[in-house]
Amino acid sequence: MTAVQQQGGAPPAPVPAPQGGPPAPPGGVRPGLADVRARAAAMPPRKGVRRAIPRTNSGRIRAFVAGVVVVLVALLLLAWNGVDDARTGVRVIDTAGPQVIATGDLYFRLTDMDAQLAHALLVGTQPAHQADRAQALARYDASRSKADEALIQAARLARDGTERQTARSLLDSLGRYEQLAGKALLQDQNSPHAAGPPSDQVTKMYRSATDMMKLELLPQAYNLTLDNGTIVRHTYEDKRSAVLTGRTVVVVTGLVLLVLLAGFQWSMAKRFRRLLNLPLALTTVAVVVVVAWTAAMLGSQASALSKAKTDGFDSILALARARAIGNSAQADQTRFLLDPERKDTYEQVFLSKSQTVLYLPADNLTGYQDAVRGLKGLKTQRDDKPILGFLGTEGRRPSSDAKALDDVLAGFKKFQQNDRQMRDLVSSGDRGQAITLQTGQAATDYAAYDQSLVKLAAVHQATFDGAMKDGKGGTKGWQYGLPLAGLAVVLLLVVGVRPRLAEYR
C-alpha cells in the first residue's frame, strides 16, 4: 500500500530519499521502521554533505526541530547582544555625558577667575568701588572652588597616562596662578589707585598671571575636556552602529528561522498530508512577533542614542564652550582697559574670540560689529553660505529653540554694541566713562546674555534627559521577555511535532 512497503524488498535503488507516508497506527508494532532501517543499511554509503541529510521521516523532523531550536537560540542571543549594546550605550552616555559637561565647566571657571581678577584690579581700591571689588573677589573665590571641583572630575575621567599628566600639570599650574594672583592683589592693595590701570608693578604681576592662564591653564583645560568628550563620541558611534547592525542581524536570522519553519510546515504537510499544523503555524507567528518587536525596539534605541548625542550632548557642550569663550572675550575688554600697552593684542583676541562664538567675515572689529548688528536671525541661514562659529552651528540645528536662540542673538548684539561704545570712549580719551560702562551697564548686559545661553542649553538638556529616559525604558524587562518568548516558541514547536514523532515510536 505504501511506498515504503513497495520498496521494502526492492534492491538498493538510486532513490534519493525515502518516500515516507504516515505509517500504520501507533502501537507496539512499527512495521515501517524496520523496513526503512534495512533499506538504509543496504544503501551504499553516501559521501560528503549528503551524509548529513537525514533519510528517515523522524530523522527529518528531528533535524528540523533541532535546526529551528538552534537558529532560535542564535536569534535570541543576537537580540540579547543588541539589547546589551543599547543598554551599555545608554548607560555610558547617561553617566559620562553629564561628567564631560561638568569638566567643560572647568574652562569657564578658569576664564572667570582671570576675568574677576582683572575686574578687581581695574576698579581699584578706593571706597567708591569697595563693594564692586569685594564682589569681584567673592566671584573669584567661588570660581576657584568650582574650578577645583571640575578639575578633579576631569582627572577622574582621564583614560591614559597622557591625559593624567595633563590633569596633574593643570593642578600644578593652577596653584602657581593662584599664587601670582594673590601677590598681584596684595601689591595692588598696598598701592591704592583710582579706577583704571594699576601701578606698573601690579600690571607686570597681572601679566604673568594672565599669560600663564592663557598659555598654560586654559589650553590644557580645553584639551582635557576635548579628550573627555571623545569617550561619549566613541561610545555613541560604537554602540549605535552595533545596535543597528544587531537589528539587521536579528531580522536576517529571523527570516532564516521563518524560512526554516515554512520548510518544516511544507514538509510536514507533504509527508503527513495535513494542510496546516496549527501549533507550528503559531510558532511562526510567535517568531514574527519576536523579530518585529526586537527590531523595532533596537531601532528606537539607536534613535534615542542619536537624539541624546546630537540634539542633546553636542549642543550642550558647544554652548558651554561658547559661554566660556564669550566670558574670556569679556575679560579681554577689561584687560584692554587695564593694560593699555597691550591694547592691540587684547582688541585682536577679542575679535578672534567673538568670531569663534559667531563667525561673520570682516576686516576688523568695527566691520565685524556692523555685520553683527545687521544680522537678522540665526535660524534663517543660506545653505551655500552658512553662518559659522558656535552660535551659527546652533542656529542650523533643527532641534534648537527659536525663541531662546533669538534671545541669545539679541544679547550678543548688545554685547558687541557695548564694546563699540566702550572702545569709542577710550579713543576719545574718556577712559573713566569707559570703565564705568564696562564695570556697570555692560557687565549687567553681559550677565543677561550669559543667562540666555544657559537657557538655550537647558532646552537641549531636556532633550538629552528625555532621550536617556526613553533609552532606559525601551529595554526594560527584556532580560525576562527574551527567554520567555524563546520558551513559548519552543513549547509551541514541541506541541506541534510531538504527535508526529510519536507516530514513529
Partner: protein
C-alpha cells in the same frame, strides 16, 4: 529496542550539529568589518610641507628641513609610524591634495580659520604664532608697535592676511610694496626697497636666521604680538579618529618638551620668546 534507544541521542546530536553549522555560517555573514581609512590606522604617512619657507619648511638638496618638518616627523613618531614621505604643497593646493588623498596630513604654516574649516579638518594647532615686525637694525629704535608702521613701506604678499591685518584690522596707514613671497620680502628689506616685513613671528625668525647665515645686514625682530595665528595640522574632513590621534601625538610631544628644543634650534638666534606649553586645540568634531 535497545539499539533504537541508544541511537536517539546521536540522531538529535547530528541534527543539532547541522543547525549549529548553519547558524555559524549566518553569523559569519553578519560580522563584516568596515575597512578603516583613518590616518590613525595608517602604517605609512604622506605629509605635505612647504618647500620655500626658511626655518619652517625648506627643500634643499638633501630633503626637507625646518620646524614644520621636524614637527611632522615627531607627529609621525608619536603615532608610531616610521614610514614617512614628504611632499611639497603650496597655499593654493593644500586643500585639494588633502581632499584627493594625495597627502594624509599638511604641516605647513597652515593657519586654522573658520573658512578653511569648512573645506578640511584641523588637528592641533601645534603652535600659535603672533604677528610681529622685522626691520633693519637701524630702524629698530623707531618701530616699537604696529602703529609705528604708519607711513613706512611694508611688504605685501598677495593672498597673505598679514598686510591687511596691519592696514585694515589695525587701521595703520602703511604703504604696501608688493613681493612674490616672504623670501622676496627679505631681499627687498635688505636692499632697502621697503622698510618692514610684518607677518607670523616664526616666518620672520626664519628670515632673520637666513639673513644671518647669508651674511646680510643686521636686522631686528620687533615682537608686537597683535594677533594669534594657530598653525594647525590639515587632515581630510571627517577623519575624527585621525585628528584625535594627531592631537594626542602633539600633547605627548609637548609633555616631553620637544617643541621648545626644536624652536630654540631653528629660531633661537632671533631672540624670539617661545611658548613651551601645548596650545589650545580646535577640537576634532
Amino acid at each position: 529496542m535497545r539499539s533504537h534507544r541508544a541511537g536517539r541521542p546521536t540522531r538529535w546530536l547530528r541534527a543539532t550539529a547541522l543547525g549549529v553549522a548553519a547558524a555559524a555560517a549566518l553569523t559569519a555573514c553578519g560580522i563584516a568589518g568596515a575597512s578603516e581609512s583613518s590616518v590613525a590606522s595608517k602604517e605609512r604617512l604622506v605629509i605635505g610641507v612647504n618647500a620655500d619657507q626658511p626655518g619652517l619648511g625648506l627643500k634643499t638638496g638633501g630633503g626637507y628641513r625646518g620646524f614644520d618638518v621636524e614637527i611632522a616627523k615627531q607627529i609621525a613618531r608619536f603615532m608610531k609610524v616610521t614610514d614617512v614621505e614628504f611632499k611639497t604643497i603650496t597655499s593654493a593646493t593644500r586643500e585639494k591634495v588633502l581632499r584627493d588623498g594625495e597627502v594624509d596630513l599638511v604641516v605647513g604654516s597652515y593657519s586654522i580659520t573658520p573658512e578653511r574649516k569648512t573645506e578640511v579638518a584641523f588637528a592641533g594647532p601645534y603652535y600659535v604664532t603672533h604677528q610681529s615686525i622685522l626691520v633693519r637694525a637701524a630702524d629698530a629704535a623707531r618701530v616699537k608697535t604696529v602703529h609705528d608702521l604708519a607711513g613706512r613701506r611694508v611688504c605685501m604678499v598677495p593672498r597673505s592676511v598679514s598686510f591687511p591685518r596691519v592696514q585694515k584690522e589695525r587701521g595703520v596707514p602703511a604703504l604696501p610694496v608688493e613681493a612674490s613671497g616672504y623670501n622676496d620680502c627679505l631681499t627687498k628689506l635688505v636692499s632697502k626697497q621697503l622698510d618692514a616685513v610684518s607677518t607670523d613671528d616664526l616666518i620672520l625668525a626664519g628670515l632673520f636666521a637666513k639673513n644671518a647665515t647669508d651674511g646680510g645686514p643686521a636686522l631686528t625682530l620687533v615682537k608686537t604680538s597683535f594677533s594669534d595665528e594657530p598653525y594647525g595640522v590639515g587632515i581630510k574632513q571627517g577623519d575624527v579618529d585621525g585628528c584625535e590621534a594627531v592631537n594626542k601625538a602633539i600633547t605627548r610631544m609637548y609633555q616631553q618638551g620637544i617643541p621648545a628644543k626644536l624652536l630654540q634650534a631653528q629660531f633661537g638666534s632671533s631672540g624670539l620668546e617661545f611658548t613651551k606649553t601645548v596650545p589650545q586645540f580646535e577640537g576634532c568634531e
